[in-house]
């Protein structure tokens, strides 16, 4: 179980675009964290620092108390798994099974253990029947799930999902939600970037809001989507889920999810 400490991290892309400005964020093992914010607010840039794909211009990142800076990407890959936003930048193999096996094989697994990992990861994302297909014969939504399976097969203590619900229908979103819950139940840390406020409110115990490379809100869904945060949310052009707005209107306090709205109404009688 590995705590993450992001300390005063700033990052400027070559060419001068400043993507992160002094981010401080600690994430405890087993936490589930949703990151929201406008396009270009630094969400993807931030998570790419966790596995060393990007190195901070200033500040540092500690995993389990030791700095990421000195460690190789290959070593970090066993600790932090990232499923990228664009599955086509991740998928390269000609067969679904081979794609998922790539990561754990590089961790030194082989034979029956490797097969089992691959099978389990594909089952979890609902692609158990597609193991022998070509990834490019799968539709976009299933390629996204394949990218997630490839990361799950690594069994890293920290799992990062960059916009996992993009292109997913109702069942696909429910599947992602149950994957996050299963990982958390297993004590692993899940960090997820999303633009879907309802999904975030219903799925994560902690929500972080980013604006222009900084963390501007950090708390439970009830904190971040509660009325006292609406001003800051509006400054990032975000709106709380409709359930939160209805709850506030009815004087029920912070009801970030439909379930909490119904429960608050029932409690009022």
């Amino acid at each position: 179980m590995i705590p993450i400490e992001i300390q005063g991290v700033s990052f400027t892309y070559p060419g001068g675009v400043r993507a992160l400005s002094g981010v401080d964020l600690g994430v405890a093992p087993g936490e589930t964290l949703g990151i929201v914010g406008q396009n270009g607010s630094g969400k993807s840039t931030l998570v790419r620092h966790l596995n060393g794909l990007l190195r901070p211009t200033q500040g540092r990142i500690l995993l389990d108390g030791s700095g990421v800076g000195r460690r190789h990407v290959a070593e970090l890959a066993a600790v932090v798994g990232i499923a990228f936003q664009d599955p086509d930048r991740q998928i390269f193999a000609g067969r679904v099974r081979t794609e998922v096996a790539f990561g754990p094989r590089n961790l030194g697994l082989h034979g029956a253990e490797l097969d089992r990992r691959v099978r389990e990861a594909l089952e979890v994302v609902g692609l158990g029947g597609a193991a022998d297909e070509n990834p490019y014969d799968l539709g976009y939504s299933r390629r996204k799930l394949l990218a997630i399976a490839s990361v799950l097969a690594m069994r890293t203590p920290i799992v990062v999902l960059d916009e996992p619900t993009t292109g997913q229908d109702l069942r696909g979103v429910a599947r992602v939600r149950s994957i996050v819950a299963a990982l958390a139940a297993d004590g692993r840390t899940v960090i997820t970037i999303s633009h879907d406020m309802r999904f975030v409110a219903e799925t994560f115990r902690r929500v972080v809001v980013m604006r222009a490379g900084q963390v501007v809100l950090d708390g439970t869904p009830a904190d971040v989507f509660g009325e006292s945060s609406w001003g800051v949310l509006a400054s990032t052009y975000l709106e709380p889920p409709l359930a939160a707005r209805v709850g506030a209107r009815l004087g029920l306090g912070s009801t970030p999810t439909e379930a909490s709205l119904v429960a608050a109404l029932a409690a009022r009688g």
Binding site: Y13, G15, V17, G37, Q38, N39, G40, S44, Q85, D86, D88, R89, G139, Y140, S141, R142, E163, T166, G167, Q168, D169, L170, R171, G172, V173, H195, M197, R198, Y237, L238, E239, P241, L242, A243, R245, V246, R249, L250, E258, L261, V262, L265, A266
Partner: protein
């Protein structure tokens, strides 16, 4: 221009079953048609077929007819078709030319290939950037944009071509809520002011709720439901098909389903929030 599909059945090369079966639809000038349905139901295939890319570029076998203002598009040459009908793919990364070093050049690429005068090209690029609120990206390198920014640039590049018919496959999938709103507003303006006919596949039913005149539901390659967007999106059967109803519909049923508030009270609260 009006796009019409009549009894269109399509099968990918090498596939063992049809991806689309007996699709009839009409997309009149100035209208917005929303398309919803579960994953892998044929929505993206419908985009490829309606735009003429399938079978001309993608291959496969088609039957039935597709016409633009009564003229068959099957057999039309790709460049002829491309001038009438623009398509935005589900993965916007696949859309960029890869040859431009700035967003401005990327947007100019299409109109220049149409042989338009330079002044017109510049005007089109600027108005497309403006429409989507991304004028600030004009000088940026297309390879160094966030996912959502790439999606806006890809859409702006299509708008710069000024097509009469727009086929959009999840145009807002990677956009933040504000980007989604801007795209919705830009598309509404195109339909109202330029009489552009727009077919848009979206999982974000909240957007279709505000944007689409009509909505169709595709399931297993067939058109299973069609009607005004208000009517179709409030249909409880959508959930069984794997389509998420808009928040308005969901919260209303959460409020009323538990028997906690009378429906007119729920409607009143939701209507107040809409203002």
């Amino acid at each position: 221009m009006t796009l019409r599909l009549s009894a269109v059945t399509y099968r990918y090369a090498g596939a063992h079953r049809d991806a689309l079966t007996g699709i009839d639809l009409e997309l009149p000038a100035g209208s917005v048609l929303g398309v919803v349905g579960p994953n892998e139901s044929g929505k993206s295939t419908l985009c490829l077929v309606a735009s003429g890319l399938a079978p001309v570029v993608v291959g496969g076998r088609i039957s039935g007819s597709i016409t633009i203002d009564g003229r068959a598009t099957i057999g039309m040459r790709p460049h002829e078709l491309a001038q009438r009908c623009g398509i935005l793919f589900q993965n916007p990364q696949a859309q960029l030319s890869g040859t431009a070093s700035t967003v401005f050049e990327e947007l100019a690429f299409g109109p220049r290939n149409l042989g338009l005068p330079l002044a017109t090209v510049i005007e089109r690029v600027e108005s497309s950037l403006e429409a989507l609120g991304i004028a600030g990206l004009a000088d940026r390198d297309p390879d160094r944009l966030s996912g959502g920014q790439v999606q806006l640039v890809a859409l702006a590049a299509i708008l710069a071509l000024g097509p009469d018919i727009l086929i959009l496959d999840e145009p807002t999938s990677q956009l933040d809520p504000q980007g989604t709103r801007l795209v919705g507003e830009a598309l509404r303006r195109l339909a109202r002011e330029n009489r552009t006919a727009i077919l848009v596949v979206e999982h974000k039913t909240a957007l279709l709720d505000q944007l689409a005149d009509r909505v169709i539901v595709i399931d297993a390659g067939r058109l299973v439901r069609e009607g005004s967007s208000a009517e179709v999106l409030a249909d409880p059967a959508l959930v069984e098909l794997g389509v998420e109803p808009p928040p308005r519909v969901r919260v209303r049923s959460a409020l009323t389903g538990a028997g906690l508030r009378p429906p007119d009270e729920a409607d009143r609260v939701l209507a107040e929030l809409d203002r």
